[in-house]
Amino acid sequence: MLSRVADSLYWLSRYLERAEHTTRLTSVYFDLILDQSSRMGGDRYQRLLKNIHATEYQNLPFDEETTISLLVLDRKNPWSVVSSINQARENARQVREQISSELWMQINQLYLMMSPPYDAWENQPQMLMQQLIQHLYLIGGIADATMSHNEGWQFMQLGRYSERANSILRLVDIHFEAVIGRPPQAEDHMDWIALLKSCTAFEAYCNVYTADLTPARIAEFLLLNAEFPHSLHFSINMMRQALKQIAIITQSHRNQELNRRAGRLQSVLQFSQIDEVLADGLHDFLKGIQQQSQAIHDTVYQVYITFPVVEELPI
């Protein structure tokens, strides 16, 4: 597969994952503020902005209309949902012949739905967000069901789960720092529910631990559970699996370093215990994982995408 194509497929699914995450966060936020007392609003809004890399907007009013236009519809905000969708579609267009027609048509339809005018949505932000998430789930399902699970699909898996791992890291880090760091409040449990819902994890959590919400269990579930698709451990497992498949398919002889890094990261998540992690400092733990995951991304590029040509030329 062309290196450029692998690059586009990787980013195509990263952007789709990003669009889904931003939409879900915004949707959970709208849900949360319906029940909140006036003094909580500012904090939650700042956390939302921080999560989606939009802190430059922190001085704008945080009413529903501004929020939705900034985080969902604003083309100038590179992290907005519509920007992610446009980027995903642009990447899809560049590899149009490598993805199935079904997948392309669904991405294109989502793009068309998010092209102006969107008057229909102005008064129904939650409906818009539900539609978006459904579209994005559909795209994920179509990709899995209509594409060969070949090299290209593996690069898409890699992109999807790299993005997801990063989003979870950031979400948990920002949340714990803000909520654990402040004096306990009556509304705390709502923030914890919101955190779980931001990872579609509330029901799955309850199935494991009942509705008894404790920070340590929540951290354990979101970070170390190996079975839940929106956990960090699960995401890293999937990344590792995709990398293994890619190495097999490409018969790569340059991937030892990559294999070592991915294996080490996976082991950290497999053998860590949440009480130790919390005792040693959650922030540092997450920061370490973030750095390792960045290193994996860089190594993928060195091995498959931007490798020096000289090494490969026939003598």
Binding site: Q94, E97, W104
Partner: protein, 485 residues
Amino acid sequence: MAHIPLPPPFNHYKLEQQFYDEMFTPDATPRPPYAALYQRLLTMSAQDLDRYQQAADASFLHQGITFTVYGNEAGTEKIFPYDLLPRIITQAEWTIIETGLTQRIMALNLFLHDVYHEGKILAEGVVPVDLVFSCRHFRREMRGVDVPGGIYVSVVGSDLVRLEDGRFAVLEDNLRVPSGVSYMLANRQVMKRIFPNFFSGYGVQPTNQYGQNLLATLKALAPNQSADPVVVLLTPGVFNSAYYEHTFLARQMGIELVEGRDLLVHNNFVYMRTTRGLQRVDVIYRRLDDDFLDPLAFRHDSILGVSGLFNAYRAGNVSLANAIGTGVADDKALYAYVPKIIQYYLNEEPILPNIETYLLEDDAQRQHVLANLEHLVVKAVGESGGYGMLIGPHSTAVERAEFKERIEANPRNYIAQPTLSLSRAPCFIDGEVDARHVDLRPYILYGKEIKIVPGGLTRVALKRGSLVVNSSQGGGSKDTWVLYE
């Protein structure tokens, strides 16, 4: 002229006797191949047609079958307007088109080989030397270069028009990088989906073998008779107006769609950069003009091409379709000599006629043209896509004065032709069926042999009375049916 009233949805349809009508004879009876379609349409209301039209448009939009309009910042991606009603060609008519184009392409290919080798046709004065050497698309670098199988033009799209008397004539040969074949195929696909009941029982010859034919054509060009050559399609990239077509063809053939930055040349071999490392490339179907192919050989500022590609090509290590320098044979001034070229190489009379063409370097012809600009069409010889054209009867005095100046400054750069009365076909426009001018672009492949899929792209000038069918100038297209015997 007597207006013969037709039943709805044809009640606004105007037959004008100076144009050949594809569907109706001059006394307003449907021609035999159209009779069944006509009867079927009479059972439909404008609302029905409108519904079908919307379904078709949505299908194109959702599939992202779009093209890019240059020089238009907002909304640069547009769907290519699709007309619901098919254009029908009989097997007898098709046989003439097929044999005529085969003859023409064969002769033009021999001509290209000749001008880049001995130049006999020039030495004998059949075609003026100046005309060839002054052509912007003549590539001196190609002299003495042998191309695989002697095939210069592998992929051709020739523009045909139907004259008043119903004969087809060649308006233009596109021998460089003709586009539009994906629309021919997409139109058929949409037609089958929207109007399955129109289609069944009509006996329409299929077109969807084009992808396989194109791949076979490209493989036939492989250097060293390699059994399983690596074929790629080289695109200028996602910003090119025909990008959709490039992705479509690559998918149809199952080959890699590459950009210049994916390729590199080492020791006169071409490689592409893949996740497995470097892979050799044998045949490049390039959808990039000569100028941009190799910054070392041609335009130095090109960032779309591949440095060293021309040397690899000249060394015979990679094949290009089409060859470099084919533009000299589709120059609009050289066009006037094609009938002579056919006679010279094949010793045959041209099966498809040319359109009468005035060469403006000739004093007498130029004087005649300048005196009659308001009746003629003037075209710049190197342009395509309907740019750089003056349509006399639709022009203003200012435009004519401007063209007069341009012609006098550079007569070699222009030709003139009589204003054509392109044939007209029924189209569904703004809720009614009306007549619009159409042309026909069949797609010719030349590998081991010459193959033409039965059909082509029928382009439609959607503006009432307009003669310009180019997609960049407000043209649309319709499905083209070639019937079995």
